[in-house]
């Protein structure tokens, strides 16, 4: 048990008659990247607030680095980044870093040296003397990542660190997190972005409606819950619902979104021509058809019947 950095046992959190977390249990091992995947409102932020020690559970227990997360000596080894960049608008990026690092007892010079390296990796070195109020949302997120990493935590807790970023910025953050993970920093991260989870996670917990509905390695989860293949059909936009209804007459594992219909299949070679024919016979124009490997999105679809981003 020594290498278990986070132990969450039967944690429930209720307020105003609403149950945000319902008997959640899991553990995160040292050096692991543990991704909690779930749609907005699944309870990820509440769970992270409890693990970071800023919120108390209604019942159950949490241990972080062998101690209560509210203990200041435990917090010294944790760095938590909430979804909104916690920057003071009247301070520059570097002054924000000075402020937070001083709360960890770091010397200003050490913190600044470390921060400059991180800012350079993220490609925002020139923003170090810019006021936080003048940063774009993406720049604010990147600066916040530096805030979180500059204290060299043993455990990094990131709540939706890449939401609202452009692909280039996201790539920079993911690369930086991979580098941190390779330096044995344990990372607990919440996201609703499939590719991010698949790329970074050693283990994934899928959350929905305050519960962890599946947990394991990415491939393990796919093996357990996803089909061997996914037939992705893109009809014209106005025909998505009609296409879904037509295909449901023959298959049960049909999931549609705004622009596509996904058919979970054991036998794509047989099902693809059959599906195309059925749609053609019903006068539905098809823009594209492809056979894809299943993703964690398909795991989520299988488990909940809904898409992650709905």
């Amino acid at each position: 048990m020594e290498n278990e950095i986070i132990i969450v046992k039967e944690v429930t959190k209720s307020y105003n008659g609403f149950t945000a977390l319902n008997s959640v249990s899991f553990t995160v091992k040292s050096g692991e990247v543990y991704v909690v995947l779930g749609p907005n409102g699944a309870g990820k932020s509440t769970l992270f607030n409890i693990i970071a020690g800023v919120m108390k559970p209604s019942s159950g227990s949490v241990k972080v680095l062998g101690d209560a997360p509210s203990n200041p000596s435990t917090r010294l080894k944790i760095s938590y980044l909430p979804p909104t960049p916690p920057l003071y608008p009247w301070l520059t990026v570097m002054e924000n870093i000075d402020f937070y690092s001083s709360l960890y007892g770091l010397s200003r010079n050490d913190a600044r040296k470390e921060a400059m390296e991180l800012l350079e990796i993220l490609g925002i070195k020139d923003l170090s003397n810019k006021l936080a109020s003048k940063l774009s949302t993406g720049q604010g997120k990147l600066a916040s990542i530096v805030l979180a990493l500059v204290v060299r935590p043993e455990l990094l807790i990131l709540d939706e660190p890449t939401t609202g970023l452009d692909p280039g910025m996201r790539r920079n953050i993911i690369n930086l997190l991979r580098k941190q993970a390779s330096n044995k920093t344990t990372i607990l991260m919440a996201t609703h972005l499939i590719d991010e989870a698949e790329e970074l996670a050693n283990r994934v917990a899928i959350m929905d409606k305050g519960r962890i509905i599946a947990e394991g390695g990415v491939e393990e989860l796919k093996k357990l819950y996803a089909p061997p293949a996914v037939l992705v059909i893109k009809p014209s936009e106005e025909n998505v619902k009609k296409a879904s209804d037509v295909l449901k007459r023959h298959w049960s594992n049909i999931y549609s979104s705004n622009d596509e219909v996904r058919l979970h299949t054991e036998n794509p070679d047989e099902d693809m021509p059959k599906a195309v024919l059925m749609l053609s016979e019903n006068g539905i124009r098809i823009l594209s058809v492809s056979v894809d490997k299943p993703t964690l999105e398909d795991v989520f679809l299988k488990l909940t019947g809904r898409r992650l981003t709905e």
Binding site: I78, P86, W90, F99, S102, L131
Partner: protein, 423 residues
């Protein structure tokens, strides 16, 4: 408690003073505006040396052919001087109706009617002399001033008339065939009848109000108090809700920062800002531009006590702000409520306007409002130069209420932290 963490809050917020224009306005510009207005409008230069001239309409209906009559009264009134200027600017009217019309139009401050027979009656020791005065009201204050000046002038005039009559009577008594002892008795009795009360009046201001500089000193301390009330309320009310709305509260409480360090750091940083602002106000107030005079000697224990009282005033204002935050759901509502309440209380509790200007029921506020005690006690020390011995009761009241309010603030902040960390 780690001093480095606490100091980091002070450094963080000091940068806010130079970078947030609205904060600079409320902390420094707004109270300075009031000091400037006081120095150049409410208590303008040469206050106390100013002149007063009453616009007086006179209707002289006196036709007495005696040594003293209405015409002579008008001549005397025209020559009366106050601080080197004529006290009365007299305009003659031929009829009472015409004069009263001018008074109603606001062209005059007062009208005096000198009735026929005025001179005859005035010079006859056995007759009553009558005059009629109408007081106008060009501004809300002018009626009071005019009435006071005319009453004082004619009281003085009446006294002089009495003395003249007394002299005449004494001359008559001298001619009477009675004993010297009897004459003496008559003289004393007549003096007693003519002048039952011989009172002399002399204006004695508190030493502090002898000069304009000291009056401005009074208002400079008032400006510090006013700034404490709205800015102190504001910073106390915003301490936690601002962190919550900025999205920094949860980040702060995920760091090794303890609740005690957070509250101490936040409170001290706000206190530092208030005290810097107070220092700037006092420096500008006592500069030649304003010319306020404040007594301060760093070796005088009473003066050091005044500084402690000022700090207590700031702490109490911030503590009261914490209560405002309990009833406000958002940062802007807390801030708005704090500013309005702070300004209102600064005008009604004797902090800015003298409490004597307030109606009796509102004066209760000054009695029950602890920050006003600290400002009043500081004024007594720095403006009225009260000695240490008379301040013991004030010190007990101010220190105990500061401790009490800080305790209340601690409880309310802890309540808020619990409330906010739940969502």
């Amino acid at each position: 408690m780690r001093l480095k963490a606490i100091a980091s809050f002070i450094i963080r917020d000091l940068k806010l003073i130079v970078r947030d224009k609205s904060l600079v306005f409320w902390l420094i510009a707004w109270p300075l505006i009031w000091i400037f207005m006081t120095a150049y409008i409410f208590v303008p230069p040469a206050t106390g040396e100013g002149t007063v001239t009453i616009k007086l309409g006179v209707v002289n209906m006196d036709n007495s052919q005696v040594s003293f009559n209405g015409s002579l009264l008008i001549t005397i009134m025209k020559e009366v001087k106050y601080n080197g200027s004529n006290l009365f600017n007299i305009k003659l009217y031929s009829s009472e109706e015409e004069a009263l019309q001018a008074l109603r139009k606001g062209e005059l401050d007062a009208v005096i009617i000198v009735p026929d027979g005025f001179g005859y009656n005035a010079t006859n020791i056995m007759r009553e002399t009558r005059l009629i005065a109408y007081i106008g009201s060009r501004t809300p204050q002018s009626a009071q001033i005019t009435s006071s000046i005319i009453t004082n002038f004619f009281n003085g005039f009446s006294k002089e008339l009495s003395l003249k009559r007394m002299d005449t009577l004494q001359k008559i008594i001298e001619q009477l065939p009675i004993s010297e002892e009897r004459k003496q008795w008559f003289n004393i009795s007549i003096r007693g009848i003519m002048q039952p009360l011989n009172m002399t009046f002399e204006k004695v201001y508190p030493e502090a109000f002898e000069t304009r500089a000291r009056i401005l000193g009074w208002y400079t301390i008032g400006a510090v108090g006013m700034m404490f009330l709205y800015s102190g309320f504001n910073s106390g009310a915003s301490l936690i809700v601002s962190e919550k709305e900025r999205g920094t509260l949860k980040k702060l409480f995920s760091t090794p920062l303890t609740e005690g360090e957070f509250l101490t750091g936040g409170f001290l940083s706000q206190l530092t800002m208030l005290l810097i602002s107070a220092l700037i106000l006092i420096i500008v107030g006592t500069s030649p531009v304003i010319g306020a005079s404040i007594a301060f000697n760093p070796f005088n224990p009473a003066h050091l006590l005044a500084i402690i009282f000022i700090v207590c005033g700031a702490l109490m204002s911030m503590s009261i702000g914490s209560l405002i935050s309990l009833i406000s759901k958002t940062w802007s509502s807390a801030s708005n409520l704090a500013t309005v309440l702070g300004l209102l209380l600064s005008f009604t509790t004797g902090v800015w306007f003298p409490i004597e200007w307030m109606p009796q029921p509102i004066r209760v506020l000054a009695i029950i409002f602890p920050p006003a005690w600290s400002i009043e006690a500081s004024r007594r020390i720095l403006v009225f130069e009260t000695v240490m011995e008379t301040l013991i009761l004030d010190a007990i009241k101010i220190f105990s209420s500061t401790i009490l309010l800080l305790t209340v603030a601690l409880i309310s902040y802890r309540t808020m932290i619990r409330r906010y960390s739940e969502y």
